[in-house]
């Protein structure tokens, strides 16, 4: 296997994450408080304003998947009675907990002082934290984000969320951290979020260029790492996104494609939009199936699960709690099927894509329910053919490489044949 080629930004990110896990490993001895929370609807700036350390179980699970330990953790959870059909993020997390809570970097993870459950459309999140509450016996705070069934958030929705933040979430954080809520500090953090968000959007929009200087799925999931997890609002995140933007803009200016594990993909034959999370256990193998065919992903919905910024939303330091509410409501997991269709159709048009692919995840009903209807509706509206494959998040048993490869190859050939047909 050749050496993996890496962008400079990836190195920066690796260092950030390393530092964060070091902090977590030393949290107890340094008296730092720890809050477990989820990616969609994360309130990172608020947590950082209380100086508590966020832990994101989904990120731990996906990292375990990438590092090859998730299979063992899932079996461990199944031994404890969690069925085969349960979300594999949950089982991976429970298995990790039962195996001594050693995090993905090999360092121990601290126990939570608080479970902050932001509910943004995924019902499993509730069940997950019920299990963790049982295991850790710690306080839990529930922040309910109304589902965007009608496609818009009403003033009442917003007021309802702000009231929860004031009356439930902030008091819980005050109790855990022993600090008073400091709105000025929150504003300062939100200001830094805004800058990072501007840079992130510039990065993703660079994929409108031909060739695309980035892969908005396989690279994109790395790019959103800091802003979706423990770093949004931090100085280091702002610096990371500035560096990333410069890197991507530089590649765009030189007409270069993204850097894959086997080198740059400058010659791009297919431009795709992808819906759904990636498979993490065979991430490299999965990616290879794309770049071997010279396929680049120009936009993806999964990179919007922890926040949707390309529609214009930015965190607003002048309305700190209202803006957090707006942010949560707009996360991709909280969007209705018509909104998701709208987003994919828009991406196909704006990013001049040749096709779109749905990776349907076996154990994630939150994502996969309705995906076939999305497929048909997007095809109907845009006339662009879609492809449908199935895999899983972190259960290595559900990745059938030969099947997926067969399907992807067929799909790419179908795009070719249709293209040839049109030009006849």
């Amino acid at each position: 296997m050749p050496d993996v080629a890496k962008d400079r930004s990836m190195q920066l990110q690796k260092e950030m994450i390393g530092r964060h896990f070091d902090k977590l490993a030393r949290a107890r001895e340094q008296g730092r408080k720890v809050v477990y929370t989820f990616v969609p609807g994360n309130l990172t700036e608020l947590l950082l304003s209380f100086d508590v350390l966020p832990v994101l179980p989904e990120i731990n699970a996906l990292q375990s998947g990438m590092r090859g330990t998730s299979g063992r953790y899932i079996m461990e959870a199944e031994k404890a009675g969690h069925s085969e059909d349960v979300c594999t993020y949950v089982k991976c997390d429970i298995g990790m907990l039962r195996s001594g809570n050693i995090g993905p970097t090999g360092q121990p993870l601290p126990l939570p002082d608080l479970l902050l459950l932001s509910y943004t459309g995924c019902y499993t999140f509730m069940k997950w934290f019920e299990l963790l509450r049982e295991a850790y016996d710690c306080p839990t705070v529930f922040f309910h984000v109304p589902y965007q069934g009608q496609g818009v958030m009403t003033p009442q929705h917003r007021e309802y969320m702000v009231r929860q933040l004031r009356e439930q979430v902030i008091p819980a954080l005050e109790r855990v951290s022993g600090r008073r809520y400091d709105e000025d500090r929150l504003r300062a953090l939100l200001r830094q979020s805004r800058q990072a968000e501007d840079d992130l959007v510039a990065v993703f929009e660079a994929a409108k260029g031909v060739p695309s200087p980035l892969d908005a799925y396989f690279g994109g999931v790395y790019y959103v790492g800091p802003i979706f997890s423990a770093f949004r609002g931090s100085q280091e995140a702002a610096e990371y996104y500035r560096a990333l933007r410069e890197e991507v803009e530089d590649r765009a200016a030189r007409g270069l494609g993204p850097v894959t594990p086997e080198g740059p993909l400058n010659d791009q034959r297919y431009r795709l939009v992808v819906e759904g999370p990636p498979n993490w256990t065979h991430f490299r193998e999965f990616w290879k199936m794309f770049y071997d065919e010279k396929a680049v992903v120009v936009a993806s919905t999964y990179t919007k699960v922890g926040g949707t910024y390309d529609g214009g939303f930015r965190h607003d330091p002048d309305d700190p709690l209202g803006t957090l509410a707006d942010y949560c409501a707009g996360c991709y997991t909280n969007l209705s099927l018509p909104n998701r269709v709208e987003m994919i159709a828009r991406y196909l048009h704006d990013y001049k894509a040749d096709g779109f692919l749905i990776n349907s995840v076996k154990s994630c009903n939150s994502f996969s329910a309705g995906q076939l209807m999305i497929l048909r509706e997007v095809e109907r509206r845009t006339g662009v053919p879609g492809a449908f494959i199935e895999s899983d998040l972190v259960d290595p048993r559900y990745f059938s490489a030969a099947n997926i490869k067969n399907r992807l190859e067929s799909y790419f050939q179908m795009i070719d044949a249709r293209g040839a047909g049109r030009s006849q």
Partner: protein
């Protein structure tokens, strides 16, 4: 008499399926010259070679047919073809005998060697005699196209009888066959037209018109201008990437060539079920395939046939006799096997259980068809399972129930659809 060498430009499509490998040869005008099929066995390389040999044998018969059908009559031609098949079969039996002798010599205990050797010789001898007789029968019983299956069925029957008569272990005799049949399948066999046509001519006592035609067919040189491969084993083919096509595209194009008004294609192969929508040019517009699990595909039927101790080709005819189909699990092959045994023990009739199993397969297919966008106008059913009449009947019923009246096309050559599509892609490559 000297025969001028006729050069026939052609293209070839090969489809390396999980169960069978197929090849189709097309002439310059896109007409089918020949088709060949063999079981895929453990070696795709051998399978594709044999399928090609078979396709060219059939292409030479096609040349023969075009040249002399009028003069010699179609009956004489059919008889020559049957004689040719008999010669091929006898050659393979000869190979089987050699392999069996070798196996007996090195594996059977010294004291039993003679008895086992005699039993094997007798069994294969009887198989040869039966084959000779079969040729003489006006309408011989249907049997599998594959040497493995046909020989297995005859060998088991005779060996069982011999074992009982001579006090030998039937399992031992069967075990020897299982070991040797793989060797025969994987050994290079000369099964081509040139090797056996003379013996076939002698066997059927062909007249001079036919002999002349044969000489011309032997002298015909097929000039392969392009080959395209598809199917699960396509990565094994020593072709550049542009000569490899996905079987989804090939089935779409193949079905369109057979039935140009087709808009929906259902292909049920060994391990895949594919629901495909095509446009008016045969280009695929969307498709869905089974995921994670291959219950309901051809292999499901293979497993059930084994469970019931039947040949795969016997399943459909038996199921067709079913009057009250039993409901059977369609989501797990192994569970279906368990249900089948349970049903048998409860006294359900074999044909009713089999009718239920065929319906179960089609229920899975209906769900994929729905996912791909349903059944539009004309609908074509392809793949090995389309040869099974009970499966076709179940499909017709379900399509009618769910979509109302639809034209359902099934070609007798449906198993070659993928290879035909591949050959058409090869033809396009030549054209461009």
């Amino acid at each position: 008499m000297s025969t001028a060498v006729a050069k026939v430009p052609c293209v070839v499509g090969v489809d390396l399926g999980s169960t069978t490998s197929k090849a189709v040869v097309l002439d310059d005008e896109g007409r089918v010259l020949g088709r060949g099929i063999t079981n895929s066995r453990s070696s795709y390389d051998r399978a594709v070679e044999l399928a090609r040999v078979e396709a060219f044998v059939s292409a030479r018969f096609q040349v023969l047919r075009r040249n002399v059908a009028h003069a010699a009559g179609t009956e004489a031609l059919a008889r020559l073809l049957a004689a040719f098949r008999t010669e091929q079969y006898l050659v393979q039996l000869g190979q089987l005998r050699v392999a069996l002798d070798r196996e007996v010599a090195c594996r059977v205990r010294a004291e039993a060697k003679e008895a086992v050797s005699g039993a094997v010789a007798y069994t294969v001898g009887r198989m040869c005699e039966e084959e000779e007789k079969r040729f003489e029968e006006p309408s011989p019983e249907e049997r599998s196209d594959f040497f493995r299956d046909a020989a297995n069925s005859a060998y088991s029957r005779i060996a069982e009888e011999v074992a009982a008569q001579r006090g030998l272990s039937f399992d031992l005799l069967l075990g020897l066959f299982d070991k040797c049949i793989i060797q025969v399948e994987n050994a290079p066999l000369e099964l081509g037209f040139v090797q056996h046509i003379d013996a076939a001519l002698a066997r059927c006592g062909a007249g001079p018109e036919l002999r002349e035609g044969v000489e011309a067919a032997v002298a015909t040189e097929f000039v392969v201008r392009s080959t395209v491969g598809t199917g699960y084993g396509r990565a094994r083919l020593p072709f550049p990437k542009e000569q490899i096509r996905s079987e989804i595209l090939c089935h779409g194009l193949g079905a369109h060539a057979m039935f140009p008004a087709t808009r929906t294609v259902l292909d049920i192969g060994g391990q895949d079920t594919k629901a495909i929508q095509v446009d008016e040019k045969g280009i695929v517009t969307s498709f869905q395939m089974n995921d994670r699990c291959a219950a309901g595909c051809g292999r499901y039927l293979g497993y059930i046939a084994d469970e019931m101790n039947l040949g795969l080709h016997e399943l459909g005819p038996l199921a067709e006799k079913g009057r009250r189909p039993v409901k059977i699990n369609s989501t797990c092959t192994v569970f279906a096997g368990a249900e089948l045994r349970e049903r048998l023990s409860l006294g359900d009739k074999r044909e009713d259980i089999l009718a239920g199993l065929h319906r179960a397969i089609m229920l899975r297919a209906m769900s994929l068809l729905a996912r791909s966008g349903g059944i539009q106008n004309e609908f074509t059913f392809t793949g090995g399972v389309a040869r099974n009449r009970a499966a076709v009947r179940a499909l017709r019923e379900l399509v009618e129930e769910h979509y109302g009246a639809r034209t359902i096309n099934i070609s007798p050559e449906s198993i070659f659809t993928g290879a035909l599509g591949a050959a058409l892609f090869a033809k396009r490559m030549v054209a461009s």
